[in-house]
Amino acid sequence: MKQFLAFVRKEFLHILRDRRTILILIGMPIVQIILFGFAISTEVKDVKTVVVTHSPDADTRYVIDRIDAGEYFTVTHVVHDIREADRLFRRNEADLAVVLPDNFQRHRTEAAGIQIVADATDPNLAIMRTMYVNNVLASARMELQKTLAQPAAAAPQGHVRIEAKLLYNPQMRSAYNFVPGVMGLILMLICAIMTSVSIVREKETGTMELLLVSPIRPMLVIVSKVVPYFTLSILNLTTILLLSVFVLDVPVAGNLMALVGVSLLYILVSLSLGLLISTLTTTQVAAMLASGLVLMIPTIVISGLIFPIESMPWPLQAFSCIIPARWYIEIVRRLMIEGVPFAYVWKEALVLVAMAVLLIGIATRKFKNRLD
């Protein structure tokens, strides 16, 4: 036991001595949470809009004012020629063009033939922007029609009124979507990369030779290496949760204990992955690139962190099943944000348990008691 503690102490010293790395390990989650929470958003805001019109009449001015009024759109240019709008698109000076027909005012009561041209390089944004601007235009024209002396004598027509209810994330904050993902990413980064690199570093500098011939069981050496990173992960987990609750206002809607339990399980999976990488590589660079490329890229891209899994083609969906982060992010999203009871996610949790058992099994089997 004393030996084990000596090992753990040594590992902590290694980490604490490297100020820059520890600063990054602790600072990275904070920066990521703040960036994802505040900066990364897809809300429609300040869309640079061009209005193309030939007839600067009162109605046109009214419509322009209405578009410009909200925080969604900013009319940056009013031009006469659609080609001018295209030129602005090419310079990134416009995102959206509203083409009003000639003699717009005369069209109050009839179909006007308005055209909306959107820069669709980003398809989702284009869809959302056109929908928004369409709504603004429709209500503006409704107002215009009302101001007519003779209201259109159309027969009263029944229409559907939508009462929308936004579940779980009524303010549509992107933080709700990203917090679980950032948790999955950070824990994987720290547990897997740090563990593998720190073990391989001992191989590279030759200290592994000394540790192997010492009377301690080699597995104990490895377990002691894992302890500090485990602690660090808990620290990060706490930081992320505190930040998301108090800074981002993302509450823990579900059972906190269940959330912590699943997180510990995920940390275990990540640590054993790191352990596995360390047994398969011999140099720090190889370990870093292996964990950086083979682990991090799928964790970012195919885990549902940013891109929803159900939009992917089926081979990738199938592949995503072997990525631990996919399951973890899904569980956290539902436990923490949606607040469902644990019983609803036990299957996903079981997958993580199976992964942990499998990975630990392989890593122990692959672990070498000798140098070659």
Partner: protein
């Protein structure tokens, strides 16, 4: 011409490395061929549950319209709102439509007929687009407004991602490899032997930079090839404009990598610091989310993010066909960055203690 020997040496080392040449070829192929399929925010096949309390011809017709729409997939017809909510919690539906009793009656009378739409908005984009689609089906309006999607008429998400992924690859490869380079010479000890030679700091750093510059060029061409043959994407604008801006951009990131390398004592440190920067670069570049949606403070930060400018250029030239005159501001800023990065890389490299 000392430079020539230094560059020769770097190339030999890169080629002799068992890992790097493969990385330079395989990594771009992997990213370009797989990620565009995964990195899609295309919203389709939203799972909808309809609670039809009216069970009238009109409500059934509405349900049919939803079922036939391209966007929705009718997964179940629960009996009550609570059942529907349960379906969402169990992750079997994304959106819920409740048609109350008396729906048809209201409509026939020419009154407002309220319906309840509940959307899972954990993923805000998905929820928002889903509810908008649904409201279009429920309350068709603005039929006389025609919509034209410029530059990407089929709203293909891959068109949006592919040029962006090229820039991401260039940042990663041309950023990480130089960051590890000088610090690895420090760890091995060969830097000492170089420091005691008369080679100037200017030449030494240039000798480190140029190989990565060329590597960036190779990576770019692989990417352009894959974009053409796998996705049928070819720059609408001039290819040479892309080459020119890539040349400037790789100088910026490789320079940054070398600066980090100079200040780091171990490879691990260099790696983590670079990670940190690249992450911020990518998140604040407009790659995934538009810069205009960011809060003001974040928008200010993007002004010092070289990737922001390069991302803009690539998408502008690739998709919109912008000419060199259109991208002059971005090119100017990037050239400024390149000069600064190179100068700092030289200044931060000390031959003497």
């Amino acid at each position: 011409m000392t430079l020539r020997y230094l560059i020769e040496k770097e190339f030999r080392q890169i080629m002799r490395n068992s890992f790097l040449p493969r990385l330079i070829f395989i990594f771009p192929c992997f990213i370009m061929l797989i990620v565009p399929w995964a990195a899609t925010l295309e919203i389709e096949d939203l799972r909808i549950a309809v609670i039809d309390n009216d069970r009238s011809p009109k409500s059934r017709r509405l349900t049919h319209r939803i079922e036939n729409s391209a966007y929705f997939q009718l997964t179940r017809l629960p009996d009550s709102y609570d059942d529907g909510l349960d379906a969402i919690e169990r992750d079997r539906a994304d959106i819920l439509l409740e048609i109350p009793r008396g729906f048809e009656k209201h409509l026939v009378k020419g009154e407002e007929a309220p319906v309840l739409v509940a959307v899972n908005t954990v993923n805000g984009t998905k929820g928002m687009i889903g509810s908008s689609y649904l409201s279009q089906i429920l309350t068709p309006q603005g039929e006389d407004v025609s919509i034209r999607y410029r530059f990407n008429p089929h709203l293909d998400y891959k068109v949006f991602m592919v040029p962006a992924l090229m820039t991401m690859l260039l940042v990663m490869l041309c950023g990480f490899l130089p960051a590890l380079n000088i610090v690895s010479e420090k760890e091995i000890g060969t830097i000492e032997q170089i420091n005691v030679t008369p080679v100037s700091r200017f030449t030494f750093i240039l000798g480190k930079l140029l190989p990565y510059w060329l590597m960036g060029f190779i990576v770019l061409n692989i990417c352009i090839g894959i974009a053409r043959f796998a996705y049928g994407l070819w720059p609408v604008g001039n290819l040479l404009t892309i080459y020119l801006s890539t040349m400037i951009f790789t100088l910026v990131v490789s320079g940054l990598g070398l600066i980090i390398s100079n200040y780091s004592a171990t490879m691990q440190q260099a790696m983590f610091v670079m990670w940190f920067f690249i992450l911020i670069f990518i998140l604040l570049s407009g790659l995934f989310t538009p810069i205009s949606s960011m809060p003001q403070w974040a928008q200010y930060i993007t002004y010092i993010n070289p990737l922001r400018y390069f991302m803009e250029i690539t998408r502008m030239v690739y998709l919109k066909g912008s000419g060199i005159a259109d991208i002059l501001p971005q090119l100017g800023v990037m050239s400024g960055f390149a000069a600064t990065a190179y100068t700092l890389a030289i200044l931060s490299y000390c031959k003497q203690q």
